[in-house]
């Protein structure tokens, strides 16, 4: 029933901040992400990732110490394997009728957890992502993880309900960050995507049942068990609002079907 576990789709572009921003408006359609099932020119994944990267870059605090500012920019623009988690967070928020702008800080936090955990692996395997020292690599990662929490905590919360949602999301993200630090690389995408879907639905105002369905949907999507994710989507959410998530699932599926390519073998 479920697709076999495969690695992260090869053709999704990592959120390379410095590279994405200038190209964003003029960027041509990625040839191997053309979706026969949607009319739009641009993939949801690409659009969401560009928004997230732009927001993240704009959120780097002016108070950052100069000694970490350059390493942070370098780390964020270094090549990180792609993750569906941040875009899934935005899509899941739309799924329950929420405003994706409220979910973008959580999406950024997930992107940072993903990027830092990749940077840790690079350090451990003696191939650091930047030219900086071990100390700078470590401390830059710590500062970026902290930035993720700060971004979520400072999301505007007008009432008690919104503030409580943000606290729930912070609990989900911190639990996931601890879990991601404790598991092998190939298990991380499932955990990140489950957390992403949960955070999106919480911030979009979903109820308890929708949150738990989103957890399963995200876990399946992160593990590329797309048939199972589609089942959760079909049973648990209004079809009229499921567009963004369905499109994302189709993009993973589409990409999955074209992953047997030379560039994938190099990874």
């Amino acid at each position: 029933m479920a697709a076999a576990f495969v690695s992260i789709p090869c053709s999704f572009k990592p959120a390379q901040i410095s590279a994405i921003l200038p190209r964003r408006l003029s960027r041509p359609k990625a040839p191997n992400l053309t979706l026969s099932t949607t009319a739009s020119d641009q993939s949801y994944f690409d659009t969401a990732n560009a928004d997230i990267s732009s927001h993240l870059l704009g959120s780097l605090p002016a108070t950052l110490h100069p000694s970490v500012k350059t390493p942070i920019h370098r780390l964020l623009s270094s090549s990180t394997p792609p993750t569906i988690a941040p875009s899934l967070c935005l899509a899941a928020s739309e799924l329950v009728g929420g405003d994706p702008n409220l979910a973008i800080n959580a999406a950024c936090a997930l992107q940072l957890i993903h990027a830092v955990s990749h940077a840790r692996i690079a350090v451990i395997s003696h191939h650091p992502l930047t030219e900086f020292s071990l100390g700078t690599e470590l401390m830059t990662g710590d500062a970026l993880l902290a930035l993720g929490y700060e971004m979520v905590a400072r999301t505007p919360a007008g009432d008690a309900e919104a503030a409580t949602r943000l606290l729930k999301v912070l609990m989900e993200i911190s639990k996931t960050a601890a879990a991601v630090a404790a598991v092998e690389e190939e298990e991380r995408e499932g955990k990140l995507a489950a957390c992403a879907a949960v955070c999106g639905v919480i911030l979009g105002g979903g109820n308890e049942e929708e949150v738990e369905r989103a957890r399963r949907l995200g876990m399946f999507a992160g593990k590329k068990e797309l048939a199972m994710a589609e089942v959760e989507l079909g049973l648990g959410f209004e079809d009229v609002r499921a567009g963004a998530v369905r499109r994302l699932l189709q993009e993973i599926l589409q990409c999955h079907s074209v992953t047997i390519s030379p560039e994938r073998k190099e990874r």
Copy 2:
């Protein structure tokens, strides 16, 4: 006016979890922390740190992956230089009439940031605190930082005001965590202590002016500029409630006056 910048007091005991717990009830009074100015047998610093260590140990989630549980316990029980920040967080909460139990999660988060930043330095200088690999050291640190945020986020918040306070505290803590990662070791205690005092006062229900006075008070206390801290305390807060903070300041002063000892020179 202000005392010269000195290192962390030598005779304060680090929050060694495994060591403190069994000894807590029967522990004799630390001989060089006897305070002539207070009647109590036990120092505020020692009592608060024992409470914080106990709470931290009890808060390690059952869902922690077994592969990090042992390294985490090992890291928490390893010898970390003492910090006044966690105890100052509790004392500052008392200062504005708050319940220290609401501040203990923030105090734990500060203890974790301090412990992990020490562990990072140990890794960078090739003297890791545990016998585990570089990867385990790094990931254990990441998991502990995440635990700190989770503990604060899950502090019970019954109403909008309490939830908003927790979000403010999370912003303060994450900003401090990023700052601590970016500065030299000797500047960290000032930043941690300022954050601690701010978090305690926010959680205790202090107003904006009290929060900013607490920030200065903490910064001065962290840098051992005790005369300046005493000024902030005297001008900004009700004297009847200033007991805990004043006692802590006296303990730093007392300890500071006996720091010219052989053991200090070794640090």
